[in-house]
């Protein structure tokens, strides 16, 4: 158990920094407005289903 924790401190700090930046990239992407076309597409699919 303890063995697993014995990671090179610099390495894990770098990993942490990388992940922090990855989260920033991803969160920024999540905040982007989703184009209407997707909701329209879902509505169309639903409407088509309803008629069939």
């Amino acid at each position: 158990m303890q063995q697993d924790m014995a990671v090179d401190p610099d390495k894990s700090r770098l990993t942490e920094q990388i992940d922090e930046n990855l989260k920033r990239v991803y969160e920024r992407l999540l905040k982007e407005e989703v184009p209407d076309r997707f909701k329209q597409l879902l509505a169309q699919l639903k409407e088509k289903e309803r008629r069939e």
């Binding site: 930046n21 990855l22 990239v25």
Partner: protein, 198 residues
């Protein structure tokens, strides 16, 4: 409770017995698009990919097991579509050096610090396979096991791929990944033979 060691699953599926699984798709449009942009590095391609994913998910909804993670299911469809499209169009898109990569700079860059821009640039120079594991594990909070299932590979493969991806990213940014620089004396020990040797 499994305690804090366990990472929260991304958007845990709400179990709503009355709900049509298809109606849940709407809730995942934003993460789908974020994942698609991460894979393609290009919003136009990403949007086409999301569109294709929605249609496939709609048609194949009976393959979704209610109670399992819908985001993981949708992400799997999206990445499988991405890789199969990529195989099909390989000759049409002779872009090994990432011309597409430039497109992620469509992202708003207002308050950006240089370091973060450097990071984005490095990220875009990774292969989609590397971007994929980093986003899934490093950013969107999927476990190694979930990621392995989504990618259809062994857990060990995900682990080694993730660590190679991190190392590559660090290399691209000119950062050390923990190994001391080989064959270089520590800064204090540098002598200047060139100045004295005749």
């Amino acid at each position: 409770m499994t305690g804090t060691a366990r990472r929260a699953a991304p958007r845990a599926a709400r179990v709503d017995p009355g709900a049509e699984p298809r109606d849940e798709i709407t809730a995942y449009l934003s993460p789908l698009r974020a994942f698609a942009i991460s894979l393609t590095g290009n919003t136009a391609m990403a949007d086409d990919l999301v569109q294709e994913t929605i249609v496939k998910a709609w048609i194949n909804i009976e393959k979704f097991q209610v109670g399992t993670n819908m985001q993981a299911w949708l992400f799997t469809i999206l990445r499988n579509t991405f890789y199969s499209d990529r195989r099909k169009h390989r000759r049409e898109v002779p872009d090994p050096d990432g011309v597409h990569a430039a497109a992620l700079f469509e992202l708003p860059v207002h308050d950006d610090k240089l370091a973060f821009r450097e990071f984005q640039r490095a990220f875009l120079h990774l292969s989609p396979e590397h971007r994929e594991v980093l986003i899934l594990i490093g950013a969107s909070g999927f476990s190694t096991e979930q990621t392995a299932e989504m990618l259809g590979v062994a857990v060990g493969t995900v682990k080694s791929r993730t660590s190679r991806a991190r190392k590559r990213l660090a290399d691209l940014m000119g950062l050390a990944t923990g190994e001391p620089p080989v064959g270089r004396a520590p800064p204090g020990a540098i002598s200047r033979p060139g100045l004295t040797v005749a």
